[in-house]
Subunit: 193 residues, 2 copies
């Protein structure tokens, strides 16, 4: 069901801008990247670009939304550690994007920030999806059950986010090991002591 009229071109251009912005921020990082650079890459003036977005923060927020959407489509319902691993591996290839996510999270602590709503939906959604996976494994008898899956989900996401901060400073940091370690702590198999 193709859009009619002038909307079609506008939506295409909007997508082009978002992809250009994603590429620039991924390569050059969050700091020191201006909207004028993004506009130039799209053969547009700054006001021409701003016609599509309310503000720089709005543009960045939509970049993250697009990023989430493509990641979601690619791995569908993979909430198991292997799915997580894949996400982390890809993040490791694009330090600029990790930096963008972290910077935006900090900025979005202000409820008035455009990205606040995004993260406010995103974290509970992530927790829920991880919790569903953990609950399954518990029902299979493959995991200890003394901590409810919702709490463990918050814990696992914290590990994944937190290790990325250490990795931002030292790129030799192993981002998968801590996830594996938590999972092994949760397993019922021998290995204790």
């Amino acid at each position: 069901m193709a859009k009619r009229g002038p909307y079609e071109k506008g939506e295409a251009k909007r997508g082009e801008i978002l992809h250009a912005a994603l590429e620039i921020f991924a390569t050059e990082g969050y700091r020191g990247t201006s909207l004028r650079k993004v506009a130039a890459k799209c053969n547009l003036s700054l006001p021409g670009l701003m016609h599509y977005f309310d503000s720089k923060e709005d543009l960045l927020t939509q970049v993250l939304r697009m990023r989430d959407e493509t990641a979601r489509l690619r791995q569908q319902e993979r909430t198991d550690p292997d799915g997580y691993r894949e996400v982390i591996r890809e993040g490791a290839r694009t330090p600029g994007l990790v930096e963008l996510f972290v910077s935006m999270t900090a900025a979005a602590s202000d409820p008035a920030h455009p990205a606040h709503a995004l993260f406010a939906e995103r974290y509970p959604m992530l927790r829920e999806r991880v919790a569903v996976y953990l609950r399954e494994r518990m029902e299979q008898g493959a995991m200890r059950t003394d901590i409810p899956p919702e709490r463990l989900a918050a814990l696992l996401i914290a590990v994944a986010d937190g290790i990325q901060l250490q990795w931002l400073i030292d790129r030799s940091t192993d981002m998968e090991q801590p996830i594996d370690d938590v999972m092994s702590l949760l397993s019922l198999e021998p290995g204790e002591r």
Copy 2:
């Protein structure tokens, strides 16, 4: 051993600036706080303020250094979970500072950033201190020993950092629970199943 000559005043003023900057960033957050505001609070012109610092990022880096130093003096060698708890509780009272730390971590991913050296020293030091505590507990027979303390230290710090990201978005997030949960996963006590 008091300093002589004109240095004394300069150092005092430098400290005043750092405290003023800390207060402003703690209350108004990282974004939207300008050096001119900090200068005004110190009854100084902007260049007058810049006489003491190489750049804005340099000033912010020294704010974090000062922050670390006072925290270190106050709790000395407390690397146990209760010491951590205290740090987290105080962080919870000053969202702007947490935002500052997270934003600076992201920015410091660039090795050329003045804060890069700070974090590059800070994380290994933190890991080492936590590892020492964990090793003690292991030797006391109070903890499982199947994962080496160095790896667990990275894990615990990731949990502490990561849960703060979730807390930045949702202030009702319990920042102590995930720490407690990891510690209970590490304990040898019954509770399994």
